[in-house]
Symmetry: C2
Subunit: 214 residues, 2 copies
DNA sequence: CTTGATTTATGACAAGTTGTCACATATAAT
DNA sequence: ATTATATGTGACAACTTGTCATAAATCAAG
């Protein structure tokens, strides 16, 4: 987290620093980026930097938090439009989300983020479907409340949250794969939907309906 | 890949270098590890290092390849013992694999590897179920040949390979999560099996059999 | 407005990193 | 014995990072 000092800064100076950092992180990974370049870009002295941020990571995770898609809203919208249907809701959400990330003006930043994504970055980039870190949300405002749970095998709320989280991890993994393999938006969306299909309906066939092996 | 020069070295010297590198990588991530420390550990001059390896990454991926579990064999064994059953075979395999990684004498190395795993490391650490990089394997020697495909919805061989690959990614992701959350071997195995279950049988319930919402 | 307290800004610096290169020393081949 | 060829070496330039003494700006209050 940036220090209070950073937030006390004039808007102009904050923006200058963020722009300078985004420039660096748009062409370099967290590890390859250098504070030296960022302070040069931003015309800020090295000493000042360390008064705002603990280190490079601190700044990086602040930027991820700042620019990541606010997808709480999108998830809500998606599931409501699809009447709470698990598969259709997530399909709707995932496709929109992938499109946002891969067509963003911050493409370079996201590309580098996903190309070097590890567990920690994944956690920072991802929404918490249960919002454990924040205060308890009122009934009906949680994502879980807008999903038709009767469709799912899961009995307890905890289990439902587990599966929701897993799909979000899978979504991030799929986007990562999309960047690595230089897939198009459409190809990445298809890959996500294919996997969502597997998880929703299973990969094993129902024994009774098919028995014609040739 | 190490240079020929490295392989020409006396076994003693190779081992010394590998040991020195493993020492460093057992307590540090790829990024935090330093060549300076490795050459100091190994009593090898800095100049020599660069005659054996292109850079730190080159050495690291060589070590991953060298010490990763040879799980081709384990996969074969697992699926054969479970009569080619998709779920039971993967369960068998995954549980053994997790146990191997998390109880290995190279725990520190694997821990750091998984704690900082990204797409590239994942690819290096993982077996290729199709062995595209190697020469074509004879019929019956490929992993896909020992799986009962009639159980699966997938029609084409390519689709089957896709799902096999996805499970392997999921397995690595689960181990990564296990390290981050400091789960026990048993907890990590359970997490894997739960997810395997989801993917095998789906998370949506069969509409006909349950309709008692209270 | 002046004085003193608090906050913010600065860049030189030590201590570390990487990759290279001219040169030294083995080892092999004729 | 004399060339080739292969291997070994550490000083070096060019970068990092985080700190710290010091300077400047801002605020508070008599």
């Amino acid at each position: 987290m940036p220090t209070q000092t950073f937030f006390n800064l004039s808007e102009e100076k904050q923006k200058r620093l963020i722009a300078g950092a985004m420039k660096e992180f748009s062409s370099k990974s967290l590890n390859d980026a250098s504070i030296s370049n960022i302070v040069k870009n931003s015309k800020i002295s090295r000493g000042s930097f360390y008064q705002y941020f603990e280190d490079k990571k601190d700044l990086y995770f602040y930027l991820i938090g700042k620019f990541r898609y606010n997808y709480r809203q999108l998830m809500f919208k998606s599931f409501k439009e699809e009447s709470g249907d698990f598969y259709e809701g997530y399909k709707h959400f995932g496709e929109k989300y992938i499109k946002y990330i891969m067509e963003s003006e911050k493409f370079g930043f996201f590309e580098n983020m996903y190309m070097h994504m590890n567990y920690q970055i994944n956690q920072e980039a991802r929404v918490d479907v249960n919002h454990t870190s924040q205060q308890k949300l009122p009934e009906g405002k949680r994502i879980i409340d807008v999903i038709d749970r009767s469709q799912l095998k899961m009995e307890t709320e905890k289990e439902v949250i587990d599966i929701l989280r897993y799909i979000l991890s899978m979504l991030n993994d799929t986007i990562m794969e999309g960047f690595w393999k230089e897939l198009s938006v459409n190809e990445t969306q298809k890959l996500f939907v294919k996997r969502l299909n597997w998880i929703t309906y299973g990969v094993k066939n129902n024994k009774e309906e098919e028995e014609e092996s040739r």
